[in-house]
Symmetry: C2
Subunit: 330 residues, 2 copies
């Protein structure tokens, strides 16, 4: 598969792995690779890993370096996107105030653009994934945190201070809200993040709700979203209730975004979609989000806005990062 030029590279730096891919002008991946981030070894080692994963992906694609028009680099925040700087990224300890865009450009030798990882993944789904047909998109990525990216036309809502689309932090319960890992109360993430699900489950068990999970915990298993999902799939009522409650909370956040952005499409990705459309639990999770949206949204946006699962999975980040390079280096 040769692909259509121009070609772009996308690099997605996560707390655990760095993924890279070479894509053609319509976002088809021609080659990809992954290496460990080793974030604790610091940014110099990080730049060496970024260079290596780019070279591995390039090799996998069969293209030559001078055929790559630009590199898109996606990293977790906080950051200053226009200046290509990491500020204080919690998942990349020791990378504070690091000029990651310039250092990547110097190391690889190709013009490079920086983007927030959730924004890049959103752009990936918008450009070449589940939202390919959409004119505008709200993208949620459900995991340890609740990530978000917003695309309107070819505009990525990165914000004036690189804090746009941080919608895991929107306030859904201003009075008597749950405590979030950020120290704030009543945020969406305080209800829907992986830790929040585990916490709500532990509270229910402590309050005496019957569940197979109690036995599993006694046997030494760790209470995780995956364990809760397994229990739900085996018919455990508490586990199922908690997962469907998570869906309703995501419905609330989605309605607030529909009232704000009124997008064509809302796409959900990440580990906390419980297998997405491949499992009954995942399908019921999305249906529960839709049912909550129906209750709370205006009739026209409810009827017209498409809610669906992401399609690019772990490749969304590097494909979207490459798409950001395409936006910048035409």
């Amino acid at each position: 598969m040769a692909g259509k030029p121009p070609f772009y590279a996308g690099i997605d730096v996560g707390g655990t792995n760095i993924k890279a891919g070479i894509v053609d002008c319509v976002g088809n991946p021609l080659g990809k690779a992954s290496v460990p981030t080793d974030a604790v070894k610091g940014p110099d080692q990080g730049i060496a890993s970024i260079k290596r994963v780019f070279e591995l992906a390039l090799q996998d694609s069969g293209l030559k370096k001078d055929e790559i028009r630009g590199v898109g680099l996606a990293t977790p925040g906080t950051m200053d996107i226009p200046n290509g700087m990491l500020l204080m990224p919690p998942n990349l300890p020791g990378w504070n105030y690091f000029p990651v865009r310039q250092r990547t450009e110097d190391a690889i030798g190709i013009q490079t653009v920086l983007q927030n990882d959730a924004n890049a993944a959103a752009y990936g789904e918008f450009w070449a994934g589940a939202a390919k047909e959409a004119e505008s998109l709200v993208f949620w990525t459900l995991g340890t945190g609740i990530g978000c990216g917003i695309i309107i036309g070819d505009l990525i809502i990165e914000g004036r201070h690189s804090h746009g689309a941080e919608c895991g932090h929107i306030i859904v319960q201003m009075d008597s809200g749950r405590l979030c890992g950020t120290g704030q109360y009543g945020t969406l993430e305080a209800y829907c993040g992986a830790k929040a699900l585990v916490k709500r489950c532990q509270e229910a068990i402590d309050a005496g709700r019957a569940s197979v999970l109690s036995a599993w915990i006694s046997e030494g298993q760790e209470l995780t979203p995956l364990l809760i999902a397994t229990a739900a799939e085996r018919g455990d009522q508490l586990a199922d209730d908690l997962i469907m409650e998570t869906a309703r909370y995501m419905g609330v956040g989605t309605v607030t975004l529909m009232h704000t952005i009124d997008p064509d499409m809302v796409v959900f990705g990440g580990a906390m979609t419980f297998g997405a459309e491949t499992t009954e639990l995942g399908r019921r999770f999305l249906q529960e989000i839709k049912d909550e949206v129906k209750k709370r949204a205006f009739p026209i946006p409810y009827a017209k806005t498409i809610l669906k699962y992401a399609s690019l999975h772990n490749d969304a980040g590097f494909i979207g990062a490459a798409g950001c390079a395409k936006l910048k280096f035409k």
Copy 2:
């Protein structure tokens, strides 16, 4: 004052009055006029009034009709902006499914563009008012309802289904929330709108809170936001508490918008700003919003986002509508 061409007309259709103005290429008003809407007389009478108020404003400006490059028409929703249609506007009874853009263009004889009234007012403040220096803006208009407009660069976030920036309806209290006039629970408007303030006040009085308002109501005065503001200005603790509570709720809504849009600036306008910067109460109201934002926002957006009052007041709608004509008819 001659003003710089090209010139545009802006028409702002409200439930009570229709205002029109002629502005120059940088948004300076050269002439203006106002006539009653008489919404109950239906859309044909409405179009006649739109034509008349345009002619009065044109006359006031001293310009000739062929010097006007385009007309911007702002109306309350619901609407289909790209198709120039009103759908079911609650404040314009009898105007349902009315092709208001085309009918205005036919009546006046100048190319016309339609925009939602809150979006137009936001664009007015962005183009020629309080947010003139901003790159992006969230604009709140506080009154009977909580209106909102969002501008990013020259993009007005009107949404894919003309329901963008309806942020009075974002959910700030998903569990045990107050009931909104729309039938939804826990929306921002259910806490901050004029009716919500009056309702919260009545509840406090009924619960036995001491206030000069009890005596005033016994004397036959109607409990309104203005009466509550008067009481607050005379040192009434309950009235003051309720108004500052309203500010804190607006702070919550503002933080959610900062997490979503991350704008350069957030501007507050409308009658429920209690005199804005011209009164001590108004100045304290804004300070209370800022204090709440400080508690809940991320440090960088808190430090860098400017929160201030609107400057164009009742002219924002027609100036912004004219600005929409300028965006469309360059």
